[in-house]
């Protein structure tokens, strides 16, 4: 879908302004650092749209990080007039996000979370792929930890089969967590971010609620973004 420049400028500005106002107005009681309804876009598959904004060619990347994203991103990046990538996404496939981040880094393009937009979960890794990384004031870099407990039925079945199966399940979770953390560490080192982002923020933020802690996401402040080198340009 190609939009006209004027409508884009108006649309993006309106969207950003409205979202920023909404984010300021209504914070999430369960996640006090984040707005109740962050603007992550509701496209079920990430859409890539090349647009011209203020005389710059921008690639808008919006929606869920789906399993088949890579070929579409590769195709979008073949346009060598693109100067910057803007992101809003609720996350999705973690390994694809990581792969897409590496692809973006290979192009040396900057990434940006514009005012009013939010980049959550696997989107974080896509964003980190930017050689120069901007989060505009009012833009949200929103994190949580990976989870293994999405498939509750599988957990239920393993636990129901007795202690030995539960121990086996724990062993698998330990192993998979260590391997995923190894990938995260490797990715952050290669992208030039502080790995303290993992131990001090990401791995402290559960992705699932329990009866004592209902928090599932954490929005970083501009100071934190700078401290962990998530952003390296203003």
């Amino acid at each position: 879908m190609i939009r006209k420049l004027a409508s884009l400028l108006a649309g993006v500005a309106l969207l950003a302004g409205q979202a920023a106002m909404a984010q300021r107005a209504q914070m999430d009681p369960d996640n006090p650092t984040c707005p109740l309804n962050p603007n992550v876009s509701n496209y079920r598959e990430m859409r890539f749209t090349a647009q011209e904004v203020n005389g710059r060619k921008v690639l808008l990347a919006e929606g869920m990080i789906d399993d088949n994203l890579i070929p579409r991103l590769e195709a979008a990046l073949r346009d060598d007039t693109i100067e910057e990538i803007w992101l809003r996404s609720p996350g999705g496939n973690a390994r694809i996000g990581n792969q897409a981040g590496r692809l973006i880094r290979a192009t040396s393009l900057p990434t940006r979370i514009p005012q009013g937009w939010a980049c959550f979960s696997a989107c974080n890794f896509l964003f980190m792929g930017g050689a120069l990384r901007f989060v505009d004031p009012g833009g949200l870099f929103m994190v949580h930890m990976f989870t293994h407990t999405a498939n509750r039925e599988a957990i239920r079945q393993e636990v129901a089969q007795g202690e030995q199966n539960t121990i086996g399940l724990i062993g698998e979770i330990e192993q998979q967590s260590a391997l995923l953390a190894s990938e995260d560490n490797d990715f952050l080192i290669r992208m030039g971010l502080s790995r303290a982002l993992l131990t001090e923020v990401m791995y402290r933020q559960s992705a699932v609620q329990d009866e004592h802690n209902r928090s599932t996401r954490r929005c970083l402040t501009q100071a934190e973004l700078t401290r962990y080198n998530v952003i390296n340009a203003h």
Binding site: M145, F146, T147, H148, T149, R152, I155, R156, V159, E163, Q164, T166, I167, G168, L169, I170, G171, I173, E174, Q175, Q176, S177, A178, L179, L180, A181, S182, E183, D184, N185, D186, R195, L198, T199, Y203, R204, S206, A207, V208, D210, E211, H212, N213
Partner: protein, 233 residues
């Protein structure tokens, strides 16, 4: 009830002889001491430290005190492993003191002992000695696991989430540790985390080959170099 990993649920990197793989070593010589015993030896005017047994939570403090009291040049290790964080902490103490590490011929250094070994500024594994990789685990306290699973789905889920979080934290600490020690971090995903800690057949043990020890820079002296001193009996 939210489950947290308290002192009762240790992160352990502990191997047991019964779980050794056929291609590893059927009877590893890592001693039966349940707490790492530290003994100072005089060898040609040089003080050596012999460290034997399970790596316990109190090891870093004992090691630190001993290294302040004696001018230790080298530490000889045999151990089935134990407390993962204590192994890394003790390794940092060795590095700060500039102590060499050595696994003498016929001795085995498994689990968190392998991390302790990496703390040596010069690291020697003699021919016939074993460095054995295992995956860390939280499953030492079966009673805590039993209580969580018995308390229902939400408690089980909270326990599993906490274990994932703790595993990711420790893996990140391990990366930091091996990089600071000058060991290639790929050894973690390639070897240590590729083992099963708590499968049906128990923990898997993986003996590193001489080529692997060199490739990941776990040893940084030519294989077989003793670094001085006699092989202990």
């Amino acid at each position: 009830m939210a489950w947290r990993l308290g002192p009762g649920v240790l992160l352990v990197l502990l191997a047991t002889a019964a779980q050794a793989q056929d291609d590893c070593t059927p009877d590893p010589n890592w001693t039966a001491e349940t707490e790492m015993r530290l003994s100072v030896l005089e060898e040609g005017g040089r003080q050596m430290l012999v460290a034997e047994g399970v790596i316990d939570a109190g090891l870093p403090a004992r090691l630190d005190a001993l290294l302040k009291e004696h001018r230790i040049g080298q530490i000889w290790l045999r151990s089935p492993g134990g407390d993962a964080r204590a192994g890394n902490a003790a390794g940092r103490i060795l590095r700060q003191a500039g102590v060499e590490t050595r696994i003498p011929a016929g001795w085995a250094c498994a689990g968190s002992c392998a991390f302790l070994f990496m703390g040596g500024v010069i690291r020697t594994v003699e021919p016939g000695a074993r460095v054995i990789a295992t995956m860390f685990t939280h499953t030492g306290d079966r009673e805590a696991i039993r209580q969580a699973t018995g308390a229902g789905e939400q408690a089980t889920e909270a326990l599993l989430t906490e274990i994932a979080r703790s595993s990711a934290q420790l893996a990140t600490e391990d990366h930091d540790y091996v990089m600071r020690m000058g060991v290639r971090r790929a050894v973690l995903a390639d070897i240590f985390y590729a083992q099963t800690a708590a499968g049906e057949g128990g923990a898997a043990l993986r003996c590193l080959t001489a080529a692997e020890l060199e490739r990941y820079n776990i040893v940084n002296t030519p294989a077989g170099r003793s670094g001085g001193g006699a092989t202990p009996k």
